[in-house]
Symmetry: C2
Subunit: 238 residues, 2 copies
Amino acid sequence: MVFGAILAGGVGSRLGADIPKQFLMLGDKPVIVYSLEKFLACPRMDRVFIGVHPDYLEHTKQIVAQYVPEDAHRVHILSGGGSRNDTLQNIIAAIDTLRQDSEEDIIVTHDAARPFVTMRMIEENIDAAQKIGAVNTVCAATDTIVISEDGAVVSDIPNKAVMYYGHSPQSFRINLLKRLYNTLTQEEKDILTDACKICCLRGQQVALVRSEYTNLKITTPGDYIIAQAFIAAGVDQK
Amino acid sequence: MVFGAILAGGVGSRLGADIPKQFLMLGDKPVIVYSLEKFLACPRMDRVFIGVHPDYLEHTKQIVAQYVPEDAHRVHILSGGGSRNDTLQNIIAAIDTLRQDSEEDIIVTHDAARPFVTMRMIEENIDAAQKIGAVNTVCAATDTIVISEDGAVVSDIPNKAVMYYGHSPQSFRINLLKRLYNTLTQEEKDILTDACKICCLRGQQVALVRSEYTNLKITTPGDYIIAQAFIAAGVDQK
């Protein structure tokens, strides 16, 4: 089986709004609905889990009922943990009640604040996760990457040709991810907020799927301006 | 003295337009005019050099005459070389005819396709170049940075907290930059297209100046959409 996991646990907003960015209106619907619709439209996606802060459980239920009523039976909303990892673990625990612990089962995780994920990315994530076990969706770096250990002077300027921006979805064979999590110390769990990084450190190969420059994460007011421009340009129709 | 160097030598356009991106109209003026106006408005900037492809010398002269006629006497347009380094070298050679080879003289280099440079960035570039000798304008990375040596699987996911996106301006004490260039082999010149990287490799400290997310380089059609949204949001007024 293939499960979607939309990570919407954040409550902070650098956008100056009263609600977290994933619930802000963007065009004619909240940000989170864009990726939820794409996940539900994928014929290979059995169920979609949404992990949210406890304060937003009811709000998310209302959004699902309002915007994707015909698919509401395939959507599970649950309370996220204190961190991205905790939210993912809660979702995996909930998924485990639905499946037979198959080595073939896949989880496609996605940031709720990245509305412009495409069906191609989702399909390629599923394919690569089935083949390799772990997947990151990335975009070739457009800016030169600069490393500064102290934030004051340059430490290094690595070769740009091998640098990528890490986006989402990130996808995994569920059993593989569970096994890797179980090897982590509490200290590692606190540090390793990126599941693909956990794979890297444990020697698990992570395949790349090509992202698009449009697959931005809405974090700052500038990102919100960009997302609105993308909507006006029809980027969400792709 | 302080010299501006606007690097406009590119002729490629991934935007599907007939003219290079730095000459495309953005709002009510060509892209290049935004940074040219900012440079000319800086009271500490003695002269501004623009390096362009030979085919666009006349076009650039017309732009200067049309958009900044009262400052045209402070603008020098010259033919760029085949690469970014060559263009910069041509500009430095031209600057050398105007100055007394002072250790204090500064060059503030900037991508013509980054219209939203701010006066703060220019001023801080001049300050830091006078103090440290070399400066890069950077923005803290918002995406996780992923390294892939083969473009197929992840090689490493470095600590995001020390990663920055390299923008421009990049600024240098002119004599320092000339001395460093003279130590490069032809092979190094071909590889080291980034003047700050040359400094790094030769052990010259490079100070960081804070950029803004708005200081994007217009390269793709998506960037052009974003730039137009920034204009609509008044980003160029800052």
